[in-house]
């Protein structure tokens, strides 16, 4: 569809009046169109007003609150926390993954897939997994990506990253340990796998910042050449 036509869909999109295919096309367009994002934000506030225009209703039945919170609690306990997932990956517990997938249905089917990937990742980088599964390790959430940085008590570091897209053509990801304004190259890797475990070469002292940048694929850069794609502060 031509961009002008897509642009006109902002109102229908914000009203949820597009079918699935149209909504998908519009969302692709939205990712590239700043003007539409602004328009959408403004019109979103109008549809919120429309929601208030329909408020003529009694309060919901009191048991609905408990039902929702109960389901939320259930799903959280079944969503295996990241650390346990690394543990499962390290142990290669295919059976546990399969049981989880059967017990949890569709919600966990994707998780099952991830565990398979983690098992594949295990062979490539057992050292990274041993850091990621260190029960004494300190864990920091990544800012800008899903995953975590784990640093053992002896300063060994590893990144566990989920859902990182592949580096653009000719580029690679490079991890850095940055301390006192000095960046030390820590690892080179490509994204594109569901789960990636990366062992960081230099130690990660407390207070250091671990950053990941995109660098040219032909050779290590002497220092980060661009902004961090994601990172974590220890």
């Amino acid at each position: 569809m031509d961009p002008r036509t897509l642009h006109e869909l902002t109102a229908a999109y914000v009203l949820n009046a597009l079918d699935e295919r149209e909504a998908g096309e519009y969302e692709e367009h939205l990712a590239r169109c700043e003007q539409c994002r602004e328009e959408l934000a403004a019109l979103g506030r109008v549809t919120e007003a429309l929601a208030y225009g329909s408020a003529d209703a009694p309060p919901p039945p009191s048991q609905l609150r408990g039902r929702i919170l109960g389901q939320a609690r259930d799903e959280r306990s079944k969503m295996i926390p990241m650390r346990s997932r690394w543990t499962l990956a390290a142990a290669g517990l295919a059976a546990a993954a399969a049981c989880a997938a059967i017990a949890l249905g569709a919600w966990a089917a994707t998780l099952h897939g991830k565990l398979q990937h983690e098992r594949a990742a295990q062979g490539n980088d057992a050292a990274a997994l041993s850091v990621l599964t260190d029960s004494q390790g300190k864990r920091y959430d990544l800012q800008g990506a899903r995953g975590e940085l784990v640093v053992t008590r002896t300063g060994e570091g590893a990144l566990g990253i989920q859902g990182l897209g592949p580096a653009p053509a000719g580029k690679t990801y490079e991890a850095w340990v940055i301390e006192h304004g000095k960046a030390t190259s820590a690892a080179l890797f490509h994204g594109g796998e569901d789960v990636i475990a990366i062992r960081l070469a230099p130690p990660v002292p407390l207070g250091a910042y671990v950053a990941v940048t995109r660098e040219d694929a032909n050779g290590r850069a002497p220092a980060p050449s661009g902004p961090a794609v994601f990172g974590a502060q220890t």
């Binding site: 006109e8 869909l9 902002t10 109102a11 229908a12 914000v14 009203l15 949820n16 009046a17 597009l18 079918d19 149209e22 994002r37 602004e38 959408l40 934000a41 403004a42 019109l43 979103g44 506030r45 109008v46 549809t47 919120e48 007003a49 429309l50 929601a51 208030y52 225009g53 329909s54 408020a55 003529d56 209703a57 009694p58 309060p59 919901p60 039945p61 609905l64 609150r65 039902r67 929702i68 919170l69 389901q71 939320a72 609690r73 799903e75 959280r76 899903r146």
Partner: protein, 197 residues
């Protein structure tokens, strides 16, 4: 962990929900359950289905909170969009959509006394703004937003070209935005240009 979340902004609560804080979800529920249920009930015209839509909407909040971008939308807008989407999905699946005028279908209910004053105020403000729209724009907005019709279904049903329906929705929403802004003295700085918030 117990703590009082009443002082937190909606956006801060969503950030806590993204970290799996159930109490933050409960606080969002307490703030938005009523408006969500009212909206779902209007779309679905069935109490049990409306409860389902609210439940699924809040579960979407629980599952996707980490993807919420505060620079793109207010948390309340995002949350109500998720509930609205679930309600619309359900009404399309159940094919419970109606064509009769919306006003005629709203039944007065006996619990109006429980109605929170500001909800009533907001409702009257929005309904009065809607009444000031040209009939065909109001009809397009109401059938789409409260009726759950897609733009193509509306074009079929109203016997109008798709382009006409699109432009009615677009113009209608824009006009509604102006009307609502006019009624809000503290927001009169709005000008048709890049949004700053």
């Amino acid at each position: 962990m117990r703590r009082d979340l009443a002082h937190l902004s909606d956006e801060a609560l969503v950030a806590l929900v993204a970290r799996g804080e159930e109490t933050a979800l409960a606080e969002l529920y307490d703030r938005y359950a009523r408006i969500s249920y009212g909206l779902a009930r209007r779309i679905l015209r069935d109490e049990a289905l409306a409860e389902d839509a609210v439940q699924e909407g809040f579960m979407s909040v629980w599952r996707t909170a980490s993807r919420f971008l505060p620079e793109r939308a207010k948390a309340s807008t995002w949350l109500l969009t998720l509930v609205h989407r679930r309600a619309v999905d359900l009404v399309r699946r159940e094919d419970r959509r109606r064509t009769e005028p919306i006003e005629a279908a709203i039944e007065a209910h006996v619990e109006a006394a429980h109605d929170v004053a500001w909800l009533r105020f907001e409702r009257e403000r929005v309904q009065s703004a809607l009444r000031q729209l040209p009939d065909n724009q109001r009809e397009a907005l109401e059938l789409a937003y409260y009726g759950g019709f897609t733009q193509s279904e509306l074009a079929d049903r109203l016997g109008e070209p798709l382009g006409t329906i699109k432009s009615r929705m677009f113009t209608g929403l824009g006009r509604l935005r102006e009307l609502l802004t006019e009624q809000e003295p503290e927001r009169t700085e709005w000008t048709p240009g890049p949004s700053t918030s």
